[in-house]
Structures are given as C-alpha cells and as structure tokens.
C-alpha cells in the first residue's frame, strides 16, 4: 500500500493521462456528449456511472477510437489522439459482450493482439502464459470460447485486453453478464489486477455498487454532462445535486425554504412543524432548498429522543425486511414519507416496531445535506 493516499487529482503538478477538453459529440440532432472536460490520471481506476443513454459508452468509444468528437480534443499523454485510428492506439478495450473470437482458442485469443505487434514468438508465448496465470485460467488455454463458462470468458476478455500492456484499459460494463455473487468476487479481483499491473482503468457501468466498490473516482453522468466527479465516499456523503444524491443509493429528499441561523440553516418544510436544522454546503444559503438525508442516518425510536434539534413524529406505513437491515417507511404530518433504516441486530420476532406504530424519527444537524433546488 502506498504510504500517502493515492489522490493525484488533488495535486496541481500531476500530469493527467487523459484529458477531455470541451468535447462535444453529436449524432445527428442528438447530443451524446455536451461540452465535457475532465482529467483522468495514471493508475486511476475511474468509473463512468450513469443511466443508459447518458453518454458514458460514447465517451469510452471515443477513447478507443471508434468515434471521433464533433468538437473539442481528447489528449492521451499530452497528445491529441483524434487522428490516430483504434489499431494504433495504446488503448485496449474489454467489450461488454467480451467479443472473444469464436474460431480461436483461449490462448490464440490472448495472443491475437501480440501477434499483430511483431513481437518475437517466444516472447508472445511467455506473455500469454503470464496473462493466463494473472487471471487464473491456465488450464483453459486450449479450449474454444464456447467451451468455457461465462465467468471464464470474462477473464479471457480481460487477459486479452491486458496482454499488450496498454497505457489505458477500457472496460465496458465488465461484470454485467455475471451473476451477483460472482460479480462481487470478481470486483475485488479486478481491483487486485489493476493494482498489480498498474494500468489505468476506465470502467463504464450503470451499477452504482460496482462503481463504488472498484473505483478510485466516480464520474456521475447525465445527458452528456458530468454531474459530479469525486471519490466514492464523497459522492455518497456529499452529493452536489439532488440528481447525484438520488442516483447513488437510497435517499429522502425534503423540499423546503431555508433561512440562515448562525452556522446552520433552518429549513421550513411543513406548516406547524419545527424547522429542520442542517449544515449549509456553502455560506449564505437561503431560499428554496432540498434537504437530502440517507435512510441509515435517520434514527427510529419509540421514545422522543432528547438533546436533538431534528425530531419528528410519524406513523409506520411499511416495513421492508432485507435480512440484515429493515427499512421503515414512516408517514409524517404533511403527507411526506421518510425512509429510515436500522440494522437488525435482534431476531425478527423481537422487532420493537410494527405497522401503524407511532414512532419518533431523529437525526443530527450534520447528517443530511442541504442542496440548492
């Protein structure tokens, strides 16, 4: 492990590996990428996250060379890569469908790129064997892609893309074809491999859990624009918009009117209810705001908690039992429903609350985020 945290994006002297400079991509009238600028640094594991049609795949295809930007420049290692065709770029891609060549063996699939690069034969052999070892499929070198399982195919695709030791590896929804359990295991392996090889990874995904697990930084995209680029914990704890807060994980959003009260803001959200006290994300916040709070940060109790500013009473509408967690849907006066999540440290039979119970919800002044709406 590095002694200092890996945060090149905070170092102004660090040179980015990839730079998007005001890149726009249009398909006819449709704007896939809208004036987008971003820096991605060497050895990063960078995730592009967004719903389908947000432009994340287009960004990746522009990096691979299958699309060219309508305007703006993309730089790799300080050089504009627009005129370089895909087969001359030191960028390799792992396709969502894996795109393994069905007529070639696993070994020949991995060797395919190396054979194109005029590498001596014995070196190719050594490299392919090294790759087979890296992704732990040494036994399957002589099989055809149709003769191995989905998880093994995913490994072959990864090995093939890594074989040429690219400066940048693009992964298009790399784990989407795997079942949940295998996907979670493979996420960690992917991180291991990224660390071992030191390759810069850019992964496209619509699975926020996957992005949060693997990435050093996550870019949340919507309609061809970057909504927020930050580390997973910052994206989760400090989303900069209701879109990001809503896209990542579960969230309660309460609309209200804010007035500044010293270091805090008071948000009036329903008539006859005490204002919510929150911490402003910028000084002098006032006017219409959205208060976003994660369900697990809302405490639920039968007795009214003392010493807290934010306490509201409500009635349990629904209980979602998830095994390790329970989510309570609590109706507040004024027609708003808030989700509160607690860990099920006790057996289900001894659950303290049930439907239609009157309960108290509470949270601290810093638990939620006040966002401009």
């Amino acid at each position: 492990m590095p002694e200092t945290a890996f945060e090149p994006w905070k170092d102004p002297s660090a040179k980015p590996l990839i730079q998007f400079r005001n890149v726009t991509k249009r398909f006819g009238d449709f704007v896939a990428i809208d004036d987008l600028s971003i820096d991605i640094f060497e050895k990063e594991f960078f995730a592009l996250l967004g719903p389908s049609g947000c432009g994340k795949t287009t960004m990746m295809r522009m990096l691979a060379g299958f699309e060219t930007p309508t305007s703006g420049t993309i730089m790799l290692d300080g050089k504009d890569i627009s005129p370089i065709p895909p087969n001359k770029r030191s960028v390799n891609m792992m396709f969502q469908s894996y795109a393994l060549f069905p007529h070639l063996t696993v070994y020949d699939n991995i060797a395919f790129g190396l054979k194109r690069s005029k590498m001596p034969k014995d070196e190719i052999d050594a490299r392919v064997k090294e790759m087979l070892r890296l992704v732990q499929i040494e036994k399957f070198g002589n099989r055809k892609p149709e003769q191995i399982s989905g998880g093994q195919r995913q490994r072959v695709a990864l090995a093939r893309a890594l074989a040429k030791a690219p400066k940048l590896l693009l992964l298009d929804e790399p784990l989407s074809a795997l079942d949940k359990k295998l996907r979670q295991e493979t996420q960690f392996e992917l991180m291991d491999i990224q660390e071992k090889t030191g390759t810069t990874f850019v992964v496209v995904t619509h699975d926020q859990e996957e992005a949060m697990t693997v990435a050093s930084r996550v870019a949340v995209m919507d309609h061809g624009k970057l909504k927020q680029v930050d580390t997973p914990d910052q994206i989760y704890e400090a989303p900069n918009s209701t879109y990001v807060a809503d896209f990542i994980g579960d969230v309660n959003i309460i609309e209200g009117h804010a007035t500044t009260q010293g270091d805090t803001v008071a948000i009036a959200w329903a008539e006859g209810q005490p204002s919510i006290i929150g911490t402003p994300t910028r000084p002098g916040m006032a006017g219409k705001v959205s208060f976003a709070i994660r369900p697990e940060k809302v405490a639920i109790s039968a007795e009214k908690p003392k010493d807290l500013n934010n306490v509201v009473q409500g009635k349990i509408l629904d209980i979602a039992y998830l095994g390790n967690l329970s989510t309570y849907h609590v109706a507040l006066p004024g027609g708003i429903t808030i989700k509160a999540q607690t860990a099920n440290s006790r057996r289900r039979a001894r659950r303290p609350f049930t439907w239609d119970d009157e309960v108290w919800l509470s949270w601290t002044d810093t638990a939620g985020i006040v966002l401009d709406s």
Binding site: A64, F66, M93, S97, F101, R116, K164
Partner: protein, 298 residues
Amino acid sequence: MNIRRIALISVPYLWLLALFMVPFLIVFKISLSDIALAIPPYTPTLDISGGWTEVRSFFSQLDFENFEFLATDDLYWKSYLSSLKIAFISTFICLLVGFPIAYGMANAPKEWQPTLMLLVILPFWTSFLIRVYSLIGILSQEGMLNQFLMWIGLIGEPLTILNTNIAVYIGIVYTYCPFMILPIYATLIKLDGSLLEAAEDLGCSRTEAFWRITVPLSKAGIIAGCFLVFIPALGEFVIPSLLGGSDTLMIGKVLYEEFFANRDWPVAGAVAVILLLILIVPIVLYQRNEQKIMEAEK
C-alpha cells in the same frame, strides 16, 4: 412402442428407397444391358413368368461392356474432365462475385436488407429456361452486350461470345450465383460487429480484420455456397447446349445426347452412374459441412 418407433424411423428410409434407391438400381441395370431396337430400347428385360431359368439367363446377359466402352472412347473422360473444370472455375467466379454481394447485403442498412434479399431471389420467379434464352439475346453477335460495347466505342466489331465456353461460364455464374450469395449472407449477418471492433482494438487494420475474422467466421457459408454451385454445375446440360458451342464438352450434354439423340439408353445409363459416383464425393463433403454448422449452432 417399439413398433411405432420403427415405423417412424422407417418413413425417411422408405422414402429414400422408393425415390432414390429403386430408380438408381433401374438406371444401373440399364447401364449393364445392351442396346436394342425395341421398346424399351435395351435388352434383356426380366420376365418372371419364365421361372428360375429365365431369371438366370437374365442375369447372365448383364455385363460391364458399356463401362468398358466409356473408358475406350476419349469423348467421355474428356467430357467428365471438362465438366469438372467448368464447374470448378464457375464456382470460383461465383465466389468472387457472390461474396462481395453478400457482404454488401449484410452491411446494408437494416431496412434495405429484405429488399436486397428479394432482388437476389427475384430471378427464380421466372423460368430458368426463359432466363437462359434471354441470355442468348444479350450475348449474340447483334445482342445488347455487343451493341452497348460498340456504342461506347470499346470495340470496333462485335465479339463472338455466344456458342463459346465464355457464354457457358456467364450462364452458369448468372444462374447459380444466388446459391452462393444466400448461405454466405446467412453467416455474415450473424457476425457480431464487436468482433471486428475488438480485432481493430487489438491492432488489426480494417483489411486485416476482414481476413482474420470475417473470412474464417463465414467459412461454413462459403463452403456451403461452393457445393451448392459446384454440384448442379457439374451435371448442367441446358446451359452448355443453349449457350455453348460445338466444342463445349460437358457430361450433362453428352448424357442428354446419348439418351435422346442416339437413343442409347445403356451407354447413357453408364454415363449417369459414373457421374453420380463423381458427385458423391462433394455431396458427402457438403453434408459433413452442414453437420458441422448444426453442431456449432447448438
């Protein structure tokens, strides 16, 4: 239960027996007979009413004379060889013409593909014979092709195309090209576009990706198309007799003449049996290829 299973399995075998084996045995028997001025024009004919001795004398009259005759007269083996050559070259030209058409069709916009497919099979809506006759109109000395070439000034006087082997090639390629295009198109349309992108991503140029990915993956279609052209082209007789010249040797034409012009059924039978033996090789290979495709698709 067992009887039902046997009955079910026996249906295709009975079909083959009645429609393939029995006619073949009749032809084979005729090829072992001698020519005669009678109806039917060969001898012996089997008369079971004569009893056992009759049957024995019937078999004693059968011999391989006609096959020996085919070996002595060089017209026949030259015709077989010439047919093989014409079928082989025509298949190759069909591949050269058909592959780009199939490739273009498979890469055309989705909404065009049904139309293009229709255009390829459209000629089948007209009788094969009429289409070959219309080629005479196009290829003859005063035909449209010669008039067009003279009009654009490429040639000074009309070329002799009709009644030569070139006309036979044109006829076969024109007639059988759809059989080459369709199986190749069927494999190309299934080709996953991301494979070509992956090949490019791994350092192939577009041309290299074509040879390393597209061609190997359409191999099954190419082989199927080649057999579908080669097998009927080998026995073709309408095209060489209508478009070919007197020096065009094709076994189908020889067979037709033996049978209808010379009324020598036994020799015609021998020619047909040998032709079938020659065709069995590509037919078996074709079947194997089809089986491989089926297994690959499982």
